[in-house]
Amino acid sequence: MRTSDDANKPQLHILSVLVENRAGVLTRVAGLFARRGFNIHSLAVAPTEDERFSRISMVVDVQSAPLDQMIKQLDKLINVIEIDELAPHEAVSRELLVTTVSAPPDVRSQVIELVQIFEGRILNVGQESILISLDGSPDKLDDFERLLRPYGIEAMQRTGRVALPRLHQRPSLQVVDDVS
């Protein structure tokens, strides 16, 4: 049962969108979402193993519009080849976080301990701060971020989520490109 509080929270789904690797395709996708009032929560895009195509991993908020409309409208873009919807529990998704955290000598060991617990990496150490990277599920990154905050986050960048379907379950890939 959803409480009214939950109803206002974004409901996130992951769309894995295979597109032609051409100039302006990301603009077409982003423009479509903007003009139809669909919300994008995060976005990651890069070429695939086949250089003719790119894959856009987008986390969308289905509170803003029905997922079905998002998929069908996306499918109308000529440069969009295939859209897979990955249900959150059927996908393996990863995000990368890099951050500079204030870590003067008296607390540095505590910060380093946190990094070790989360299996992050220290990329750079300065007099008063350290630069850390961590990849993992978005939840894990959220937890890490929350625990680091008291030390003072000086700068942080998170990538959008990238995702592929889980392998060991029954095929859970919902191919929605044939929307009849």
Binding site: T27, G31, Q69, K72, D75, K76, I78, S180
Partner: protein, 584 residues
């Protein structure tokens, strides 16, 4: 003789590619960036029609496409030439009109430098085209033009813009050098237009139809786009189900057919609107539940199950969740539906719907369209002008209207008995559409009589294209229903703003429409009394060597009824002025 491999340049290849697509007419206006393409036009069999404003070229191409079903083609230069066609592109996008728009662009190397007449037209037109292309290499021209026509004309039709930098079409520039080739099959892995409907869904639809006691067919513009008028007629006659035809579908089912209920929606007739409200099944064919049809969506056809057929899967469930949604070509799906119905025993197995039929004919008797004839000395009633014009023109006359009161009266009072006889701007509601659209329709169908029915406000927006028509000998006829007002806005101010008329008065005499028409090389007439209406129309119909404009002086107090106020339920339809102010 094959010319494959023959050296050529991008400009000549572009014209040859258009010839290859069967283009017989280009509407356009040259300028700096597109100049090199205008040279090979001189030697091409393609007719080029020189417009006076690029917007006119776009609407002419639309009118041509509406009337013929073939894609309209327009060509303009970069910068302002390109921005001037944004309105027609958006109009064509909203009404699914197949259009190929060629725009010149500054040389490829100058893109991004704010060069003279540079404009990011592919960026600007992303939201108003089905697709657009910026060609960067001369060698790509034949293939991209072929793909542009393929995209514009298949699936849900729409406008496609092709932006072409000057250097790749200019023979003086080495970047224009290329070898001609015949375009190969289209290579668009992300574009697979749907055709046939899902057989299980078609069977489910047929079963719903066979059980329905109060069904109505809600025919939309998709019927015309899919060339499905014959199939629709067969379906309606097989099942004996009444048909409403939306503004975009007028003529797709004959108005003189006993099953035709005419136009639904905000200014639809009582029977069309109310039959949908009371229906237990709506069979939506190529229609998109536009707000001007549905009124307040939650109150629209509240008792009806919905079968929705559309070639654009995104339309299914966009506004109203259908019980059966079928993505596919309207003509093919209707034909498949007819087969399924016959297999299930139609017409023998149809339920007894006599009660529903008599309810409908009761509404038709009780609530016909009416207006009061003018008293002597009063200005003309626009409805009277339209009825006289309708009765004085051939049954297959093509009518192009602008947007506003005159458009609604045209749709209400004309009898559209043939498909492709009503050309108008439905989705975008583009004032100024009718004159250029009528010109384009006449170019596409020179065998037909073409009348533009316009308002005085609309006429002033694009009238200069009558110069184009006069000089190109395109004998369109224009009826201006001149009430000296932006009439529809006036109507809303009268009904919803306590008769506070703000910026809607235009004057009947400024400009002098008769003199203006004559100055543009047309025959001009002015008609002020009912007894002059018929002779003026007869005279206009007898002229076939130049355009004719008749300035009909009409009564500004006349309002369009019935009316469902914006945002209200269709059940709150107001039939006429005696029923109150309509604002509730």
């Amino acid at each position: 003789m094959s010319t494959t491999g023959k050296p050529t340049n991008g400009g000549s290849a572009l014209i040859k590619a258009l010839e290859n697509e069967g283009v017989d007419t280009i509407f356009g206006l040259p300028g700096g960036a597109i100049l090199p393409v205008y040279d090979p036009i001189i030697d091409s069999p393609i007719r080029h029609i020189l417009v006076r404003h690029e917007q006119g070229a776009g609407h002419m191409a639309e009118g041509y496409a509406h009337a013929t079903g073939r894609p309209g083609v327009a060509m303009v230069t970069s910068g302002p030439g390109a921005t001037n066609v944004v309105t027609p592109l958006c109009d064509a996008y909203m009404d699914s009109v197949p259009l190929v728009m060629i725009t010149g662009q500054v040389p490829y190397g100058a893109i991004g430098t704010d060069a003279f007449q540079e404009c990011d037209i592919t960026g600007i037109t992303l939201p108003v085209t089905k697709h657009n292309f910026l060609i960067t290499e001369a060698q790509d021209i034949p293939q991209v033009i072929h793909e542009a026509f393929h995209i514009a004309t298949t699936g849900r039709p729409g406008p496609v813009l092709v932006d072409i930098p000057k250097d790749i079409v200019d023979p003086q520039n080495p970047r224009s050098a290329m070898e001609w080739y015949e375009p190969g099959p289209v290579d668009l892995p992300g574009y697979r237009p749907l055709t046939h409907g899902n057989p299980e869904l078609i069977r489910a639809a047929a079963e719903l139809i066979l059980r329905a006691e109060r069904p109505v067919i809600y025919a939309g513009g998709g019927i015309l786009k899919a060339r499905a008028a014959e199939a629709l007629k067969e379906l309606a006659e097989l099942t004996r189900i009444h048909v409403v035809t939306t503004l975009m579908a007028r003529g797709s089912f004959p108005d003189d057919h006993e099953l035709c209920l005419g136009m639904p929606g905000m200014h639809g007739n009582y029977t069309a609107v109310t039959s949908m409200q009371e229906a237990d099944l709506l069979i939506a064919l190529g229609s998109r539940f536009d707000d001007r049809v549905t009124g307040k969506v939650p109150d629209f056809a509240p008792h009806a199950k919905v079968i929705h057929v559309d070639i654009d899967a995104a339309e299914l469930g966009k506004v109203r969740i259908p019980e059966v949604g079928i993505a596919g070509d309207c003509r093919l799906v209707i034909e498949e539906l007819i087969r399924a119905l016959r297999e299930l025993g139609a017409p023998g197995e149809l339920p007894d719907r006599r009660a529903w039929d008599s309810t409908i004919s009761g509404w038709q008797e009780k609530y016909p369209l009416t207006y009061q004839m003018s008293e002597p000395g009063e200005l003309l009633k626009p409805q009277y002008v339209l009825e006289t014009l309708r009765d004085s023109t051939p049954d297959d006359c093509i009518v192009a209207s602008g947007v506003g009161q005159h458009q609604m009266w045209t749709s209400q009072y004309w009898k559209f008995n043939h498909p492709y006889t009503f050309v108008n701007s439905g989705g975008l509601g583009t004032m100024g559409f009718s004159v250029p659209a009528a010109i384009g329709a006449k170019v596409g169908r020179p065998d037909r009589m073409v009348w533009a029915i316009d308002g005085d406000g609309c006429f002033q927006m694009t009238a200069q294209e009558l110069v184009t028509a006069a000089s190109e000998r395109i004998p369109v006829k224009v009826a201006i229903l001149n009430n000296a007002y932006l009439g529809m806005v006036r109507q809303w101010q009268e009904m919803f703003y306590e008769e506070r008329y703000s910026e809607v008065y235009l004057s009947p005499d400024l400009p002098d429409y008769k003199m203006w028409a004559e100055a543009m090389g047309c025959v001009g007439m002015r008609v002020e009394s009912p007894d002059e209406v018929q002779p003026a129309i007869d005279k206009a119909n007898s002229i076939d060597d130049r355009p004719v404009v008749i300035d009909f002086r009409t009564d500004a107090r006349e309002m369009v009824y019935p009316m469902v106020a914006a945002g209200h339920s269709n059940s709150d339809i107001v039939v006429g002025p005696s029923e109150g102010d309509g604002g509730h």
